[in-house]
Symmetry: C2
Subunit: 879 residues, 2 copies
């Protein structure tokens, strides 16, 4: 790479910078913003930025700074000296520098920084004079040597800390601040002696210090943690880091100095008011450390009115300039205000929404920009109770974030107890090894659910998400004993009745009772959501089985039901009994008898859904899971079932054993059930069509979409299509009415995607079941992935958990292949997605790009999908 | 479809036919061959063939024969009358016809036939005169009415049989042959009365009979069984059937008449000698029925020398003409010889091989043709003991054909007993619910293995195939009780020590002791196999772990090992203990200790394999199955293991529970083990490389191919490639030698195929694991497919079991997609297949077509693959 013709170093200072905000690629994010602020006439301590190209040159040049670079550094150094009227290494009023990394995108904490550079045995005296405190100067020197030794000379902190501790011991003090100037001088001497022992002379030449520090920052681009971070975040190693060399200013030079951080709006609520804190006679780290209590920023008006006025002008200028809420760092050195940093401020979800909407109203940004300002994933916070961000929490274990939100309650170990305790007015968390259909009652009343086994699609996870209830699943660190009523995490024992708190959004189990806040759908949120509809082309439906879920989803803007999993209706109340009778039946006649009992129940379910959705499309999937999911696997439950069904336990056991499979995920389920037991499909079809007719007759027009799951071969679909048509048409004829319906299929098996052209011939619509498609494409059971998938993500083998973020590299190719095949045969085939990816922003964007007609997701993710779909369109206009 | 310009009816007779053997599409197979024989001047009873197009016209024309067709039929009828000098419906010497179907490809027994057509109340007298037997004539008439009523008039046989039985009862006789002419006349009258009752007059007009019979044959093209047969065999409904109307000749017109079937060579051995049987004064069905014993064909020389001489000339002419062994049917009517059919004769595997090789030597056919004449699948018979085809067997249950061959022995229910009984000199069949590694000893000594559970990749099936031992697996009809020592099949009880016979090629369980024959590799077989090597381009390797398997495969012509499944080496003897220690280890240090014990064992295994293969390539796959396959799941075995390992049962149980997975197929296995436990991969790499070095130093040059299983993401492979390289290079350096090795991967997960271009960058070779690729593409666990896959194949939803025959429609697309991607990146990438499809002929052909470099299959399938690979090349030259 040749960089001969390009500048290597960019100066900023004297209200004029050689760079600006658009030059992130060359100057890094920090350098570009420092230049921009300088150009805006905002007081920024002068300095210069060494471009990212020089990082690559450094490596190409055998880790040496080139002569040409050194020359430019020298020139810029002089400019800074001139600008500050100070001299680098001076014994009177020395110029000191900070040397910081700054890559194209922020890599917080990954790379190194050196402060107070330029101190030596001479300039330390200059600093003492300037600050009026020899103690301050020698403490700064001590710190500088230690930081320099660590960052630049690659020595461990330990030896230096030991010297410090020894001195404190010998002086009989415990705080650093109790050390005298003489103590500190002694420590400096000991530090230098230690280095000498190592054969290193601490460089006294400030330029030599600078040269070494710049090299060290370049080297920190390739430390392990930075490489790993880049790999995970797909940051190219070629980008390199810039280096910012900036004059130090001190907020701790007496009562006319100070430092602070501020936001141009309230980052917690989004309210339009200047927000922040400051401390007089302090450095940035003092504000962070929390030893002294900072004052609210408005107090600065009283403490130092001129600085405050200047700051107010600046913050308004910056917000207007960057048209976003800014996060500022400032220092006042001897009454003079300096801005050290500005960046777009991090904010809570409510603040993000309010700031975006307010700024549109203020005419500052467009709706498009506003929509791009809110992270769809963050919206989740607005829809579930959450742990008060101010609360101190003790996380004792981490499981899978199976269902978002937070919950607090007393630990109970059985569903039965959960129900009893609720009767007594308690709030409980149901803690189980794993849950089963028998636990539904307890799950329903509990605040949240914690399981030790099972994955993101385990019973607990699926049911909890359906209920919109917080759940942490598959928390392997939890040793749960229902008999001794103990939950053990390592040596920690939690008894029945003890409080725990769950954070279902992060998978955290927290000791004790933590305050929760219930975020609400504010007016601005509703407004923002309406704007999404002005842009997005992708429809958003919901996955829902119950009228309650359907209602919630509709409130959130769902435009139909994309997936009604009929089997979820099988678990409740008396239904499970009829389901089990059907399963136990030894012949078709008995099976039909049991199905006859289910028919009216299913019909009622569907009718209620149709009524809630009032004419919006409703896709109903035929029975999907293997039959063994409906029978109990534990001895006690089998006894109960035998009693209930009036048969022997042996008979129950025999049937359960017969149904058990080595790999249920790849077994007798989905449309395979309908092929071998057509009568189940017949009953469900009849229930759907009868319900649709009843709804129509009650004034709600319905065009039911009947969906066949788990098709791998077109002959399965054509066989079942005929069966469904025969039953549906017979029912319609029977009732003497007119009713349109369509028959489609899930695309959730790789072979279905591979033969999508053949399958499209028999399908009115496709719905991609990306959960199963991901499992089968990866050869990876979601429920079993816990033993290695986290390690895969951690090691960077996989960037994301493919069950959370759709894998565009692999599964995506399969989807695109099938799209091409299917649309060639049926250009207008309606195509949706109903896997959980349908509510994940990057996956939604992908679906838009590929040409899906709709996504379908759980009710609580509908707003997320709407926003992501709008952003997908806006991104296209930006690209 | 317009057929105006085409002939509808094709005459054959008078040594001249309007059709010939190339016109199968128009005339059907039978019609084309009758025409060909006629043209050859061979005496064939004259007749005519109605073309297949007319079948379609019949359906288009509302199931009516068109006037144009009827006209052509009439014209041809006259020609036959002229040719035979007989008159249709004559009362003196009537012309009678057979009316038979005949499609483009044979659909044996699917469609209808009418014989003796033309008999009526008048011509029956003519037949009586001609045959000299009124009894014969009326019996023929009776049979004709019954056949006509059934086939043409669609009436059940039952009523007719009842009339016949009643007459026999009233006459006090039991055999049809005891009925007198008068009895038969009475029966004819009753048949006609029965029809009259139904409102049907039995048609006396022979032309009406013919018209109706032709229509009936066309209709039989669309009876259920024929439609189903076509669906299964992918025969287009549009092909239609031809109808052959041919003059009847009678072999039962006295002692100068006769009938017989003959083969131009011995269909059992292939020996070049005229082979067959005949009966004088008999009809074809008498030869088949076996009431009278037919005489060997050579006896005809004495009985009727002129006819024999003529037959000999004809058979030689036909064999020379068709250049294949012919299966002939002939009839002698009053000293005059007629050929009724010739077709290529069915033959046993040894005969197929001998005939093909002999004919090449005789200069009759080319090597290419010879190779095409042998069905690769049939070769299987030559390699395993088989049930004597002459034996009468009672099949009591059917399971999966898990490992081919046959076995006879006494039933034992435990491996331990198997070993005890063998000590006593017995031969046993090991009968188990399912087998586990603990049963290896018993499996080793047993003649064959029968299990009630598990599929084609169950432990029993895999181990048995590896041992080349007969196995029937997953035989659900067997109720096996180890405690009561009873094997129940329905109400049948088989006790310990009772004999059973297994047919592992068909999955049959047979009661008692059935004679077996051990087919051998004849000289011709070896010769044929060498010819395959002159044509095929696809290399054939074997899947083998033991030196014994490797030796067998090499004898069969294997050109290397394509898959050595290292885990199979883990089960034997003391090894399992070390394996379990490794699994039980709670940390890396303990795991390494256990692995240290395994290292020398693995190394020795590999060294032995290298020595057997003597320089041929050997691909060794790293550990693949989930670890729980190595630990016992039953209480007793867990106790034993606890004792052996010196730990508590609870500890064993806890570990086993922790390892258990919901879907092991999609769980923590394959390279996922190596990623999370790199030390296992390190040990195996070291063992392979050390063994290769030892082999080299002993004079056997080796280039080991190290294969990483179950890759789904290129980062897995790149991580492990680096690990393997580090270890291998270190060992090579340690030993101070030179050694080449390559690192490749299985392509067995859909995502690996989808991202084959990325993976190819890190792989020296690909080996398609089509077992898993099929499972995951279909979302179908082979072990669980038993509950519905047979029904799928039966219903024609799937043409074949995709685990036996590679699914080219779906899985094939994935393979082709990945080929294109991979070869674009690495045009010379070596690509093989090591799933069981590698030994299935149509799949081998596919692999050749797609461009694989080699297939790898079990030792006993190596010759099959060699032949199939040669045929694939030859087919290309024919296409």
């Amino acid at each position: 790479m040749t960089t001969m013709q390009k500048k290597k170093v960019y100066f900023f200072g004297n209200k004029k910078a050689e760079g600006n905000a658009t030059m992130r690629n060359d100057l890094g994010g920090k350098g570009a913003n420092l230049a921009e602020m300088t150009n805006l006439g905002i007081p920024v301590p002068p300095g210069f930025t060494i471009s990212t190209d020089e990082c690559n040159s450094y490596y190409e040049n055998n880790q040496q700074l080139s002569a040409a670079l050194l020359k430019e550094i020298d020139e810029n150094l002089e400019k800074v000296e001139q600008s500050m009227g100070l001299k680098f290494g001076s014994q009177d009023d020395p110029l000191l520098f900070s040397v910081r990394s700054g890559a194209r995108v922020s890599m917080p904490g990954m790379m190194d920084t050196v402060l107070n550079l330029g101190l030596n045995d001479v300039s330390v005296e200059g600093l003492a004079k300037k600050s009026g405190s020899a103690r301050f100067a020698y403490d700064s020197y001590r710190r500088f040597i230690q930081m320099f030794s660590n960052v630049v000379l690659d020595l461990e902190h330990g030896a230096f800390e030991k010297i410090l501790e020894k001195t404190k011991d010998s002086r009989g003090v415990t705080q650093d601040t109790d050390l005298t100037v003489e103590d500190l001088k002694g420590i400096v001497a000991q530090y230098k002696a230690y280095l000498k022992d190592k054969g290193i002379g601490f460089p006294q030449d400030p330029k030599e210090q600078l040269k070494l520090a710049i090299g060290a920052v370049f080297r920190s681009w390739n430390v392990d943690r930075a490489i790993k971070y880049r790999k995970i975040n797909k940051i190219s190693a070629e980008w390199g880091t810039a280096v910012n060399v900036q004059a130090m200013v001190f907020g701790n030079m007496g009562e006319t100095s100070g430092t602070g951080v501020a936001f141009t709006r309230d980052p917690g609520t989004g309210e339009k008011k200047f927000f922040g804190e400051f401390l007089m006679n302090a450095q940035g780290e003092d504000v962070v450390a929390g030893i002294r209590t900072p004052q609210p920023i408005l107090e600065l008006k009283n403490t130092m009115p001129s600085a405050y006025q200047e700051l107010e002008d600046i913050y308004l200028k910056l917000e207007n300039h960057f048209t976003d809420m800014q996060d500022l760092e400032f220092t006042i050195q001897d009454k003079k205000l300096f801005l050290l940093q500005t960046r777009n401020g991090k904010r809570t979800a409510p603040a993000a929404v309010k700031v975006a909407v307010d700024m549109v109203k203020e005419g500052m940004i467009s709706k498009k920009t506003a929509l791009m300002r809110v992270d769809p994933e963050q919206i989740n916070q607005l829809l579930h109770p959450m742990i008060d961000p101010k609360a101190q929490v003790k996380v004792i274990a981490k499981g899978l974030p199976a269902s978002p939100g937070a919950a607090v309650g007393k630990v109970v170990f059985t569903a039965h107890e959960a129900e009893e305790w609720i009767e007594k007015g308690e709030k409980v968390i149901l803690v189980r090894e794993e849950t089963s259909p028998e636990d539904i009652g307890g799950m329903h009343v509990a605040q949240g659910i914690l399981t030790a086994r099972g994955g993101m699609t385990s019973h607990a996870a699926v049911v909890a998400r359906g209920m919109g209830k917080c759940c942490v699943a598959g928390c392997g660190a939890c040793d749960i004993n229902e008999n001794t009523k103990l939950l053990k995490v390592g040596s920690l024992e939690i008894k029945e009745g003890d409080y725990i708190t769950l954070n279902g959004s992060k998978g955290e189990v927290i000791l004790g009772q933590v305050p929760l806040i219930k975020a609400e759908l504010s007016g601005e949120f509703g407004e923002l959501m309406q704007w999404t509809d002005e842009f997005r082309r992708l429809k958003v439906r919901t996955n829902a089985e119950t009228p309650l879920d359907a209602k919630v989803a509709k409130t959130f803007g769902a435009e139909g039901i994309g997936l009604c999993r009929t089997e979820h209706m099988f678990f409740e109340g008396d239904r499970i009994k009829a389901v089990r009778e059907m399963i136990l039946a030894n012949n078709e006649t008995d099976r039909r008898k049991a199905l006859d009992k289910l028919l009216p129940i299913q019909k009622k379910d569907f009718l209620e859904l149709f009524q809630v959705m009032r004419g919006l499309p409703v896709t109903i999937r035929l029975l999907d899971p293997p039959l063994h999911e409906f029978v109990p696997h534990e001895a006690e439950a089998q006894q109960e079932m035998a009693k209930e069904m009036g048969i022997t336990v042996a008979e129950v056991k025999a049937k359960v054993d017969k149904l058990s499979e080595f790999n249920p995920m790849l077994g007798h389920r989905g449309c395979r059930l309908a092929v071998t037991y057509p009568e189940i499909c017949e009953m469900q079809t009849r229930a759907i069509i009868e319900a649709a007719i009843d709804a129509s007759q009650a004034g709600v027009s319905v065009e039911p979409e009947i969906m066949v799951p788990l098709v791998s071969e077109v002959n399965e679909l054509s066989t079942l299509r005929q069966l469904i048509k025969d039953v549906a048409d017979a029912v319609i004829k029977e009732k003497g009415v007119k009713l349109n319906y369509t028959i489609g299929t899930m695309i959730e098996i790789p072979r279905a995607a591979l033969t999508a052209d053949l399958i499209a011939e028999e399908a009115d619509f496709f719905s991609y079941g990306t959960n199963d498609l991901t499992q089968m494409s990866f050869g990876l059971s979601r429920d079993d992935s816990g033993s290695f998938l986290p390690e895969y993500v951690e090691k960077g083998i996989l960037k994301d958990d493919p069950f959370q973020v759709l894998d565009q590299t692999g599964v995506g190719r399969l989807i695109e292949y099938s799209f091409e095949k299917a649309r060639k045969v049926k250009p207008n085939l309606k195509i949706g997605i109903c896997g959980e990816h349908g509510g994940e922003p990057s996956s939604v964007e992908y679906c838009h790009r590929v040409g899906f007609n709709y996504v379908s997701c759980s009710p609580y993710r509908v707003p997320i999908a709407r926003l992501a779909a709008a952003q997908a369109v806006i991104k296209e206009t930006l690209a």
